[in-house]
Symmetry: C2
Subunit: 147 residues, 2 copies
Amino acid sequence: MRIGELAKRAGTTTRALRYYEQLGLLPARRAGNGYRAYGEEDVRLLRQIRTLQDFGFGLEETRPFVECLQAGHPHGDSCPASLEVYRKKLSELDECIARLQEVRSQVSEQFARAERERDALAAGAAAEPPQCEWAASAAPDRNTGER
Amino acid sequence: MRIGELAKRAGTTTRALRYYEQLGLLPARRAGNGYRAYGEEDVRLLRQIRTLQDFGFGLEETRPFVECLQAGHPHGDSCPASLEVYRKKLSELDECIARLQEVRSQVSEQFARAERERDALAAGAAAEPPQCEWAASAAPDRNTGER
DNA sequence: GTAGACCTTGACGCCGACGTCAACGCCAGT
DNA sequence: ACTGGCGTTGACGTCGGCGTCAAGGTCTAC
């Protein structure tokens, strides 16, 4: 199988595959004409990479999984190093989610405050003109303007 | 006030300030010698920028807030454009948090499965030797190995 | 023999928010 | 006069994961 077919079968691009090879993540045999030659096993490796990437794993984080498969294990996560990456990622996710939730609540609070202040001004602007009429008749000398 | 002092007072670097100026985000007057000259108002602008950045806002997203302050409003979020950015950011945050939680649950599931399989293998390896003793006395001909 | 579809390497571009370095100017203190 | 500490502009580097282009080689079909 050549690079274009592998790319298509794994839903990625030839450029990505060349990049993975450059990282030593997905090495390729070479055909006589210099073309990269891949086997069925490489489809599994590549799909493992893509799956983890969809989860937000960086390419280096997928390496233990790929090496685990290359070593002949049934799954990419059959090896301790992969489990360790899982653990690390889970704690990263927890931390990240907590941080985002904290940020969300703060932004939400700011937003609510800003809207309250806007509404207070709008209410003031809407309430004062009538009040001005009242003020104009009751206290005609208070016309020098506020603020 | 010169650039170094402003940077210190807002907890950032001179490089960042020059970058903001380059973006037109935080323009500076110039002293006779060519040095940038900042006023007290710029401290407020800069702190607004930094606060929003800590919330994960991109610099362009802080622009409406900064312009709002520059226009003389009491807060950076006293203007409609700023409120709109708040809304957009809140929905981005919600989407992002939801995505991360989904990913977290999937990774967690994979992790649990991988650990179960590892334990199953370990239990098999640990359970078989004793079983072999038992099997050796009760059924001496079943010693050709399993799997 | 030639068009077209594939492949090769190499190199630069991109995004954001600066870091870092070079080479220089300005100013205060001793 | 000289040192040290500020400032200036300009330019390149960083990180990840490729996209995109250039200039060519290879193979197949007509």
